[in-house]
């Protein structure tokens, strides 16, 4: 069991999300940065669909009421066990009553904590991913007790840690395909789209990232159709929204770009005021 000493501003439990419920309007959800979550689970020999903690702010702490192994991947929030710094992307042996906390934010926007055999919170519609109106709560709360599997492989610390190229967090390049309505854009708009550096606004969350710069927009809404995580919508004001994992499943704004999976993961690690450049992969 893990006791949540301080929940922080936005900490959720996430797995790979829920699929098969679009027919009743339920979003996919799931870890924002699957690359980092997969890495943490892999280092622990977990299945990739095991639930992890997704932490968006460093002001949280947890106490392990049982011994286990953990691995932290993704953003570097200077993780500490009992106030002593630990490494990212390495299996860490946890003793009963150890306390995990975080310090300075060095890079990235979301850090992932994987636990041996995963976090065993309630599964709703085949997933543990928290979402308002689906799971009982949409974030974890201070005082919560998180169940974990106590049968884990007791081993010593391995010193081996995997080094993630920091470019993963720092590169401005966001690769994407043409979206279904891309061809409605004029040559001038297309040029503008690929030559502008777009700034991530503070209105950015698990549902979507709103960008600040405006693209000239003269075409109307479309008949409501599907949208996906990674869809870039052009709103009537000319502002762009990059939809993220908790996005609705349908929308009425033109879908001008579609990010590839790697870029959805990469943008999930960007903070307010960071700048991104779209790069087109379509021929």
């Amino acid at each position: 069991m893990i006791k949540v000493l301080k929940a922080g501003f936005f900490t959720t439990i996430q797995d790979k999300g829920r699929f098969g419920f679009s027919s009743i309007g339920v979003p996919f959800s799931g870890v924002m940065d699957t690359f980092s979550a997969d890495l943490a689970n892999t280092i622990l020999n977990n299945n990739l669909d095991y639930a992890v903690l997704e932490i968006a702010f460093n002001n949280c702490s947890f106490q392990f009421l049982t011994a286990t192994n953990i691995c932290i991947s993704g953003a570097d929030f200077s993780p500490k066990i009992n106030q002593k710094a630990i490494k990212l992307n390495q299996k860490i042996v946890i003793k009963k009553n150890d306390v995990l906390s975080f310090g300075k934010v060095n890079f990235g926007a979301r850090t992932y904590v994987a636990v041996s055999n995963g976090i065993l919170s309630e599964k709703v519609l085949n997933s543990r991913s928290m979402f308002a109106g689906i799971t009982k709560s949409y974030t974890i709360k201070t005082g919560d007790i998180l169940q974990i599997n106590q049968n884990y492989n007791e081993e010593n610390n391995t010193n081996a840690s995997i080094k993630v190229n920091e470019n993963y967090f720092k590169s401005k390049a966001i690769e994407c395909f043409k979206g279904p309505e891309f061809d409605l854009l004029s040559k001038k708009q297309q040029k503008q789209l690929f030559e502008t550096g777009f700034t991530i606004s503070k209105d950015s969350d698990r549902m979507g990232y709103r960008l600040i710069e405006v693209l000239e927009n003269n075409f109307p809404s479309i008949l409501t159709s599907s949208v996906l995580p990674g869809t870039v919508q052009l709103t009537p004001s000319g502002k762009l929204i990059i939809l993220m994992r908790d996005c609705q499943i349908t929308g009425g704004y033109p879908r001008i770009l579609q990010l590839n999976e790697a870029s959805i993961n990469r943008i999930a690690q960007k903070n307010t005021n960071e700048i991104v450049n779209f790069e087109c992969l379509s021929v």
Partner: protein, 242 residues
């Protein structure tokens, strides 16, 4: 069968199939039929289907290796004469209280449309609405069939909070807010029925292709049904619709 459907890649894991951009029963039926044919043929590689007015989006489990091969396969399925059972559709009767306490935009609509509120209610309750698809929020039904006389533009400033159960009109559409949310539709009434309840075996009772009819109820009935819904003793009235 429609000749002009198009297939577009939608990122690495999805294919978007589009019909002509209009709201029509025959297109909606065609989409549901195609979906059931695909479901019958290739169960495991597709993890979800998003149905909308003129589109069907297939979400694949893994990256699509060859878009061309998938499309050829889908075209064959589309053309196949395979008999699929047409899914039974239901007509759901939804009780709505149009009391001015709930129908907070009724008076404004009445004035601007030059219709008595009773006429608006009559027009709203006499139509049969087709459920085209569910989206926007869990349990939000996109309904078609609103009488032209009560088409009414969305509010220019959306409300930050529209209560759960609010029945609204937005342009050519009508619908029910399944949970509290921001929204720009004009609110004409409220239903005590849950359109989405995660604690039920079937969180949302209605499916694409079903029909909805709104039935006017008094405030007393509203309170009574609300209580029954809470106690889990209320059943939404349904009949087969062929």
């Amino acid at each position: 069968m429609f000749d002009k459907i198009t297939y577009k890649p939608f990122g690495e894991k999805a294919i978007l199939i589009e019909w002509e951009p209009r709201i029509a029963v025959e297109i909606s039926e065609e989409i549901l039929l195609f979906q059931s044919k695909i479901k019958a043929k290739k169960n495991n590689s597709i993890v979800d289907y998003i149905v909308a007015y003129n589109s069907l989006t297939l979400i694949f489990k893994h990256q699509i290796h060859s878009f061309q091969i998938e499309v050829e396969h889908l075209k064959k399925i589309y053309a196949s004469k395979t008999k699929t059972f047409k899914k039974a559709s239901f007509l759901w009767e939804i009780p709505v209280c149009y009391d001015l306490e709930f129908g907070i935009d009724l008076l404004e609509m009445s004035e601007k449309l030059n219709l008595q509120t009773s006429e608006i209610i009559k027009l709203h309750t006499q139509s049969l609405y087709r459920v085209y698809f569910v989206g926007f929020l869990p349990g939000f039904l996109y309904l078609g069939g609103l009488d032209e006389k009560i088409h009414f533009n969305r509010k220019s400033n959306p409300r930050l909070k529209v209560p759960k159960g609010a029945v609204g009109i937005g342009g050519k559409q009508t619908g029910v807010y399944p949970s509290e949310s921001a929204g720009g539709w004009n609110i004409i009434g409220k239903t005590p029925i849950d359109f989405f309840n995660i604690n039920k075996q079937q969180p949302c009772f209605a499916n694409s292709g079903d029909f909805i009819k709104f039935v006017e109820i008094s405030k007393n009935d509203f309170l009574k049904i609300q209580k029954e819904v809470k106690q889990n003793t209320y059943t939404v009235s349904k009949t087969f619709k062929i």
